[in-house]
Subunit: 381 residues, 2 copies
């Protein structure tokens, strides 16, 4: 279980995280200009010639153009395209079926591959299609949002949403390679960019006080999207996630730490409506709620830590409460937590922080405390 930070190709700007999941080792390359080199990097790992590039409509220009130009250097490769409408609502059975049909129409065989370029939505959807086409074909991920770089790059989770809830249908499927080109982050809108920072903060809270403090210290560089700082932070997050995932590929224990903020975050997304609130925004509110729950039940989470969390979320223009028009009721949110896939036999289990940089899993919290905290944060009665 090696997990090294190595300079990549001698450039200070390019970093590499190796994710040694058993039988499916792969690398996450992080840096500027990786998209220009995608043809070489992916081409060297292709087993066949037919690939389907699945792209978020929003990134079709200009990132996809760079990708296609780069892929054109791979002799013999036939790249087909499938565009998916932007937004979490595209992660559905209908779009999945569309991808399957595209794979069939393009005659992508077992030695073929999918390249997913875009945010987490595209990675989740295309990853699920890759895992289920001909019982599994190769997958290359090119995340173009901060959220996708720090969250979806490592872990092999794929999924779609349904009327039943978020991510309930899906699979574990490891990519062959991930290219996180930080240049693409410059094109994100501010709310979208900041949404990704919620997950970055989460890593600091549950696993690494030093990361949290680095984020505090460099918050200006982060807001300016300085590529060096971003590469370093993304690499740090991927390393943390890689270490956890390698020890717990199927999320039976330690991996649940990463659900901090997500039990309530998912409920918020589900009740406000996917697309109405960004994932990272919902997670920001979810972290505030779950950190308060931690304080309520006495995990050791201190007021001082709570203030630092709130301050950092505020600096990054992330929401800290539910005070808004159309806020769902505390009861509706609570009910929604019970349909989360983390629920085992009817009991919701929370991952809660015990200190800055430390968290524990498996907390069972009374409905009363959850309702109280949600109401304090501005949920309707």
């Amino acid at each position: 279980v090696a997990q090294a930070r190595k300079p990549f190709k001698g450039s200070g700007r390019q970093l590499r995280v190796d994710v040694p999941v058993e039988g499916h080792n792969y690398a996450v390359l992080i840096g500027e200009g990786l998209l220009d080199r995608a043809g070489d990097l992916i081409g060297a790992r292709l087993r066949g010639q037919r690939i389907l590039v699945v792209m978020d409509e929003a990134v079709a220009t200009p990132h996809a153009q760079i990708l296609f130009k780069s892929l054109s250097s791979c002799t013999g490769v036939e790249a087909y395209t499938c565009k998916v409408a932007s937004g979490e609502q595209s992660k559905n059975i209908k779009e999945l079926t569309k991808l399957w049909m595209s794979l069939g129409a393009s005659n992508v065989g077992r030695d073929g591959a999918i390249i997913a370029i875009g945010g987490g939505m595209v990675g989740d959807l295309a990853g699920f299609a890759a895992s289920t086409w001909l019982r599994g074909i190769d997958l290359f991920l090119i995340p173009t949002t901060l959220l996708a770089m720090v969250d979806a790059s490592v872990g092999g989770k794929t999924a779609i949403n349904s009327t039943l809830g978020k991510n309930l249908i899906g699979s574990f499927w490891q990519p062959r390679l991930v290219l996180a080109d930080v240049s693409t982050l410059r094109t994100l809108s501010e709310p979208e960019y900041c949404s990704g920072l919620a997950e970055v903060i989460k890593y600091g809270i549950v696993k690494d006080r030093a990361l949290f403090e680095l984020i505090e210290e460099r918050c200006d560089s982060i807001l300016c999207r300085d590529p060096e700082t971003l590469s370093e932070i993304i690499e740090w997050c991927c390393s943390i996630k890689g270490q956890i995932v390698v020890r717990d590929e199927r999320e039976s224990g330690e991996r649940e730490l990463l659900n901090f903020g997500h039990t309530i975050g998912h409920a918020i997304e589900s009740k406000l409506g996917y697309g109405v609130v960004r994932h990272g925004e919902a997670v920001a509110i979810g972290m505030m709620a779950e950190a308060r729950i931690a304080a309520e039940i006495g995990t050791g989470w201190s007021d001082a830590a709570h203030e630092r969390l709130e301050e950092l979320l505020t600096i990054f223009r992330l929401p800290c409460d539910l005070k808004r028009e159309g806020a769902p009721s505390a009861r509706a949110l609570l009910d929604s937590t019970y349909s989360d896939k983390k629920v085992r036999s009817g009991q919701v289990r929370y991952a809660l922080p015990t200190a800055l940089g430390e968290a524990k899993t498996g907390f069972e919290v009374s409905d009363e405390i959850v309702l109280k905290v949600l109401r304090e944060l501005g949920a309707a009665e």
Copy 2:
């Protein structure tokens, strides 16, 4: 890679095949009366309490009743039911979605399970649902057809069909336990029962001359569905498949041996229409066609072996040619072979017998030979 034949619980009638797929060891239990003991056998392996029983409508009575009675002995277990209309045409996206919705409605969690009872269709469909619900839950298979017992019990293949073709969408997902109760075979119609014998014969041809000769020798007992003989033969087939699968879980090489008869068999199913011809019947014709191809290209497959194959198929009332109303054209069948998922970069690769009990994979055959053989077997021009 152990692969032992052990007597099961001291009874001469109950056999056991251990399938030691890495990280997912499981047993196939074979014998009479296993359905009555399903509650104990499955109950001991359940991790949670909620299970969804997916059943072929046709087996709802009486097999499912025995299963439910047996499950009622498992304290605390809540068993929900989802019926699927009989027939290969139910292996589709709509029915898959229905299963996902049932899993959601029944609140089956990560520690829950699916029990699939019925033929291969139910196992494939429910297995795919199990592999994709919450990124994978436990699966128990209770095959009630001979085909499902010898084919789907071992190997972890799950799939659905689509307008693109058969089994193109699916996953690899190993069951926790398989119960092959040979008593259930008595209720099959003769064509359905005989259809399963095509796969049994296939194992003999590609891997074990002694099995082929046992089938020849005991063809009367087999036609009478003698439980002892059936248990022995099913165990033999599962052992062969288990050995192959363990060495080649993801079908990169040796496992392709088991595709003998299936390249053309699938084309026949696809062109005649699923449900119009039984899978085993299509495989019988497919074996005849592919064995002729073997003879044409000179793999070593002899006329004497070919006659024995044809004789055995005939004894078991399986079709040996395409001479029938509405037979598809040779060209249409050939074209259909190119959409099979075994196709790599446009080249169809056949698994062909070289002698009775031996076969090789990876044969590339000219279109002319395939067309010639198909026409000889009665395909339309």
